[in-house]
Every structure is written in C-alpha cells, then in structure tokens.
C-alpha cells in the first residue's frame, strides 16, 4: 500500500485522511507516552488503535522487524516500549493543493536597477511564501568577503554589493506589491558550501549572517510589513568536506540575533527510503564525499538557525526519499525528526538551460514527493502546514 503510493498521488484515501493525520500530528510531543500506552494494549487488539483514535501505531517490535495493524500482520508485539518508535503504516493523507510556488533566482548581477526590477516582477505577481536569492559560492578577493555570482563568468561580488542589491530587490518587491498587502514573503539570501580554497568558511558564515541582519534591518526600518529576510545556503555534499559546511553554519550561528537560514541543498549520495528496506536502524549512513546523514542533519537542522528546504529535483522522487531517511536518522539519533519546511524545484531553470535529465521536477511534484516521502513513515510525518514553502529556481525569468 505504501509502496504503491510513493511518488504519486495516492488514491482512495478516506475523506477525513488529512484530519486524522492532523490529530496524529498534534500528538507528537506526547509520542513516548502514547507509544507506551499503545504498546500496553497492542497484544489485546491492535486494530482498535488504528487509525481514527489518532496517535496511532507506535508498536514496539522486537529485532527491528516491522509490524503493522492494517497490513494483515496485526497481532501481539511481544516487547515493551522503546525510546524510538518503530515504523507504522499510517495511511498517507490526501494533502491539500501544494502551496503556490515562488520564484527563486540564481543571481547573476548586483546591478541595483536589475535587482529592483526582479523584485518588482515578483511583487507584481503577488508572490508569497519563501523565495531564495542564490548568489553563488563564497569567495574572498583582496581581503573582502563576497561571492562568485551565477553569471556566465563567475564574477566576484563583495558582500557589500550583495547587501545593497538585496535591499534593492526588497524595495522592488514591496513597492510593486498589490494593495492591500498580500500574504507575507520571506526572502532568503543564499550562498553555498562550494569550496575553492582560500576562504575561511566560519568567518564567511559570520559575515553572511551580519549581511542578512543588515538587509533585515533595512526592511524593518522601512516597515515593509509583508517582507521578512533570512539567510540561505545551498549545502551540497559534493561541494566540500562536511567540516567546511559545518564551519559556515557555525560561523553564521556565532553572530548574535541572527535570522534563520534555509538549507536549499541536497543530501547527495545518502540512502533512499525504500519500502522494501525501511532501514529501521540507528546507523549513520554515509553519503557522498565523506558526508554522513548526521552531517546533512547538522547543517540543515541541528544548528538552531537552520531549516531544511531541500532541492527536490529528481523526477523519480529520489531526493525526497533521501531527505526522509535523514529525518528518520534524526529520529534514531535524537528521538525527534527534522521538520522539512518545503521544497525547491528547478523546472524553470531547466527550461531556460536544458538539459536536466531526470531532474526537472515541477514545483508541485517536488512538494508532493517531499510530503509523501515524509508521510510514508509516521515517525517522519509532517502536516502540510509544516511544509509551507515551495519555490522554483530560475536563471533568467523576468530578466529580459
């Protein structure tokens, strides 16, 4: 049942499926207590606990073998409650429509007029949610921190230029917004962990955090009530050793009063969720380039300011299943899942600069794959409202 529904919209779900999951979700802080209670009676009648009594199916199973209620294998548990809940097969709820996708950008210029106009175009469309301005990899030139922009030539831009152009983006975004003001939009100013050498990533992270604060202060001073500002980083396993990425995150966090940042990167090389191999084990699995799931988790979630907004590019849902496994690893390692805040797709970028073989997910598919992957396992499940953000990245939209 679960396998059949991964990667596509499940059919035949009960009309109140979402409500049932919401009830379950609200009980998350009480999971250990409920798990113990359910285990207490599991031997009597498993089916009585599934699913409409909410907070379902935390059935401790010896030896890690999965046991379910609805799959025909119900029966006694034979074991006591454990610290980590085991997998369940709570039906994947029918989600509401995905959130409207915003436009994120590979930033190719810090020209003020251009950045104003890009913000204006998004404001005119009334976009809301979260949009990333991805400025390119960290760089230091002549003793000045900055980035290599996403133009065709990797032009250097200082953080002062990034800051000024970001402010102009927010000016355009606000001043072209419909009146009365529409729902809020958060602008995440992003760089990456691509390591070319010669950059102190801890110091760059700290400088980036201060730059984000400066842009946020500008927005607050101007009372742009529908705009908030955050940081961002395209953390990708292939782009640096894990310590480099962690350095940046730690540096970002070292600044007082920082704004959150969003990890719009990948979990490259990490294992995928598979119904045939649900990986109910506390192993910290390896990913690409010396990374482990714990490293992904660290920069995307463990750092207090961090929030995962992963790239869900693969059309076969592989990226989403990797992130579900990172969340599951978190359950084993810490007793709680990570909360993925949404998804980033690259459909527009792929249309602008093909090819993107197998990685041109539509925004809706990206969000839906993420939602379904998380909800294939009750321990990583999230409500739709936990994933409020959906954004599609572009190279050139609104530039011409």
């Amino acid at each position: 049942m679960i396998a059949a529904s991964v990667g596509k919209r499940p059919a035949g779900l009960p009309a109140d499926g979402r409500r049932a999951v919401m009830r379950w979700r609200r009980c998350l802080p009480f999971v250990p207590l409920i798990a113990a209670a359910v285990a207490f009676v599991a031997a009597d009648d498993c089916k009585d606990t599934h699913p409409d009594t909410a907070c379902v199916n935390f059935v401790p199973i010896p030896n890690g073998a999965e046991q379910t209620c609805s799959g025909g294998g119900g029966g006694g548990s034979g074991g006591g409650p454990t610290a980590v809940p085991t997998a369940t097969n709570t039906p994947i709820p029918q989600p509401p429509a995905p959130p409207a996708a915003t436009t994120s950008r590979y930033v190719a210029t810090t020209d003020y007029g251009t950045m104003y106009n890009l913000g204006c175009a998004q404001g005119a469309r009334g976009e809301y949610g979260l949009a990333v301005l991805s400025f390119g990899r960290p760089e230091m030139s002549m003793g000045v921190f900055g980035v290599r922009l996403h133009d065709n030539n990797a032009t250097f831009a200082s953080l002062a230029e990034v800051e000024a152009s970001s402010k102009w983006f927010t000016v355009g975004l606000y001043n072209c917004s419909p009146v009365p003001l529409v729902a809020p939009i958060r602008v995440a100013l992003g760089t990456s962990n691509l390591d070319a050498g010669g950059v102190d990533f801890f110091a760059h992270g700290a400088a980036w955090a201060r730059m984000v604060l400066n842009v946020s202060s500008f927005v607050l001073t101007n009372r742009y009530a529908r705009i908030s500002v955050a940081g961002g980083n395209d953390f990708e396993a292939d782009w640096s050793l894990p310590g480099v990425a962690a350095d940046w995150a730690d540096g970002y966090m070292s600044v007082g009063g920082v704004k959150p940042y969003y990890d719009y990167g990948d979990a490259g090389g990490c294992p995928l969720y598979s119904p045939a191999s649900p990986a109910d084990s506390p192993l910290d699995n390896p990913c690409n380039n010396g990374w482990y799931q714990s490293d992904i988790r660290y920069v995307a979630w463990e750092v207090p300011a961090a929030n995962p907004l992963p790239e869900i590019y693969l059309e076969d849902g592989g990226n989403a299943r990797q992130w579900q496994r990172v969340s599951l690893y978190s359950v084993f390692a810490t007793g709680s899942r990570i909360i993925v805040r949404g998804a980033m797709s690259q459909r527009t970028a792929c249309q602008e600069r093909p090819p993107c073989a197998g990685t041109a997910n539509s925004p809706d598919n990206a969000w839906y794959q993420m939602y379904v992957a998380l909800n294939t396992d009750s321990r990583t499940a999230e409500l739709p409202s936990d994933l409020p953000y959906l954004t599609d990245i572009s190279w050139y939209r609104d530039l011409q």
Partner: protein, 378 residues
C-alpha cells in the same frame, strides 16, 4: 478492559493537551505564515518575525509606490573576470574544477572544465558564449570519457586562434580549440608550458597588424619597394572585432629612411594617417595633433623618431567589423635603400562604452597581439 480504560484516559488527556497546544499555534496575526510544530529554539525565530511584522503593521507600512510596475533603468554590468577562476558555480549535471573567461570581440567566451556529476570518470568541457553576463549563453558541451575530472591549465596560440591546455585528474593532457571546440590529445609539454596569456588577458580574434602593401589583397608583413617612391601602409584590425567605436595608434619608424608625406585631404578624417571612411562609415572624428598634416609628430629624427599618430571615435553608429578591416592608411616616402622596420605602439581599440577590444604597447586591460612590418628598398 481495565487496561483499556487506563489507556483511554491517557489518550484523552494527552490528545486534549496536544489539541490545545495546536490551536494556540494556529491562532494569531493573519499574516502569520510559519506555525508548524517547530522546536522552541526554532519557533523563537518565527515569533521574532511575527513581532517584527506586527510592529511594522502597527507603525503603518508605507503604501507601495509603484503600482504600475515601472522598471528602473539598469546599469552597465561590472566587468567580468579575465583568465582562470577556480571552482565556479556548477551547472546542473556538471561539477567544475575551474573556468577560463575572456572577452572576444563583443562576445564573452567562458570555458568550464570538470566532470559529470553522475559519472566521475567522464570529464567535461563546456564553452559558453554570450553577449552579456546575464544573457542566456550559447552552450557547447564536450564530454571526454575515461579521463576523469578536467581543469584548465594554460592558454596557447593555435592555428585557428587559441587553444586551452586542459589536464585530467589522471595526468593526461588535451587541447581544446576555442573556435572549433575540438578536443585532441596533446603532449605533456602542452599542459606544462606557462600560459601565453598574461593576467590581463588577451584577445584572440583581433590582432592589430601593419599591412605593408595595402594594394595587395590580404595582409603583408613586408614589402619590397624600390625607392624613391610613396607607399601606403594599412593599419588592420583582425577578424571579427565586432562593434568599433574608438581607437588610437602610433606607427613608429625611422624618418631618415621613410620620410613623412603631407597629404592634406581635409577634415580630421582625411589626414595622414587617413581614416578608412569607406569601411568605418560616417560620424567619425579624429584628433589630429599639431602638425599632423605630415605623419610625424616627433620633432627629432632617426630610428624610432618617425611617429605617426591617429586617435578617432564616433558619436554615431559604431562600425560593425567582420573579417580583417583596414581602419586607416599611412603614406610614407621610401627615401633610402635598405630595410626599415615599422612597429605599432599605443594601439588600443574599443567597443561602445569604452569596453576594450584589445590593446598593445602598452596593454591597457586586454592584451592584443600587434604585428609589425618591414620595408625593403633595394
């Protein structure tokens, strides 16, 4: 049943508390957007955002002042880097070790070297050409199986212009022709030799040359001219320079062997040197130094003291140059037998907006090869 009752009570209590907590989280400001079940440390950030939003709303946000979405004028893009940049941002499907970038005429050429992300054994070379750093580029991809990741080591002259020396992580060396985009095996020396392009960069398309026999098709670097007689020497800007809006140059010679010729054709564009109006079009103005009716601004005589100078620009439509174009002609009189060398100096050519095509002796920003000439009088 007793156990069931206990569990039932527990469930009711816990669900009740949880529901209350959830309801608390979903109330509040209508602009609230982030009310998930975040842990307290992360929820604190959201609470701070909401407090800031509320403060702005309370103070009264300004009315958006551009309801008609009128765009702002955009500025001139900042000059992109010249030469080699390490670890540029990847493109989907490719991971790059480094890249090389150069303005060629009015086209920016960037060559990325690295590997496929999905196959680390397959090297990849991507050439992007674009008119603007933010324009969609024309992309040519060459995959090189079996070599592993690639990186640009140096730039060398080739028969078609210039070729990049590219080394694989496994030690092999290949050449990548910038024009044909052909990839070929190369000797280890090809990758080991220092680049012929200085840090300031170079222009491979647009060498400036002295055409010592303007009456003969093509560019002649030497001419045999029994004296005494006048000869015309062309100052040629090499292939496909694109838009030309300004230039200047000096031609240095020995004015005891080649004597200046007064032409006096009238106007700033018909002196000596003489602007090639036919090729460059109307609207040009040249700054002729005092005494420029004769092509020698140096009062001294002897080797290198013959100095012909011309500096021209257009306020009209820039000339659009394809192929090799003679931008001006210098007339000198062959006065003595023997071989006499002429050289270009302070030569610089510009696109509109002072974007440099190339320069030599000295290089301003973009190095341009300049080729000299000789006159032999039997």
């Amino acid at each position: 049943m007793g156990k069931r009752a206990i569990v039932g009570v527990l469930l009711v209590l816990t669900l009740g508390a949880a529901t209350a907590a959830s309801l608390r989280l979903t109330s509040g400001n209508p602009l609230s957007q982030d009310k998930g079940g975040l842990p307290p440390a992360k929820q604190a950030y959201e609470d701070q955002y909401e407090a800031e939003r509320n403060a702005a709303l309370t103070a009264g946000p300004p009315t958006p002042d551009n309801p008609n979405h009128i765009p702002l004028p955009t500025g001139t893009p900042k000059p992109p880097p010249e030469g080699i940049v390490e670890r540029p941002n990847p493109l989907p499907g490719y991971f790059f070790e480094n890249m090389w970038s150069q303005l060629v005429g009015d086209t920016r050429v960037a060559v990325y070297a690295g590997r496929l992300t999905g196959n680390q054994d397959t090297g990849v070379i991507v050439r992007l050409t674009s008119k603007s750093p933010t324009d969609p580029p024309v992309q040519v991809v060459r995959e090189v199986p079996g070599l592993g990741s690639l990186r640009v080591e140096a730039v060398h002259k080739s028969t078609t212009g210039f070729a990049l020396a590219i080394r694989s992580i496994k030690g092999s060396c290949v050449s990548f022709d910038l024009v044909s985009t052909a990839v070929a095996s190369a000797s280890a020396d090809f990758c080991a030799q220092p680049s012929e392009a200085p840090a300031a960069g170079f222009s491979y398309c647009c060498a400036a040359q002295l055409d010592m026999d303007a009456s003969t098709p093509g560019v002649q670097s030497s001419v045999t001219a029994p004296g005494p007689r006048d000869i015309d020497i062309g100052i040629v800007l090499g292939d496909d320079a694109g838009q030309l809006s300004a230039f200047n140059f000096k031609v240095i010679y020995d004015d005891t062997r080649l004597t200046p010729v007064a032409t006096g054709g009238g106007g700033t564009t018909n002196g000596n040197p003489d602007l090639n109006d036919a090729a460059l079009g109307a609207g040009w103005t040249c700054s002729l130094p005092s005494g420029s009716a004769t092509p020698d601004i140096d009062p001294d005589t002897g080797p290198d003291h013959g100095v012909a100078f011309l500096s021209c620009s257009t306020t009209g439509t820039p000339a659009s140059l394809t192929g090799a174009v003679t931008v001006a002609t210098l007339r000198v009189h062959v006065a003595a037998s023997g071989t006499s060398a002429l050289s270009l100096s302070e030569a610089a050519f510009f696109h509109p907006l002072q974007s440099e095509i190339g320069s030599c002796a000295p290089v301003i920003t973009v190095k341009m090869p300049c080729f000299d000439g000789t006159v032999t009088a039997p």
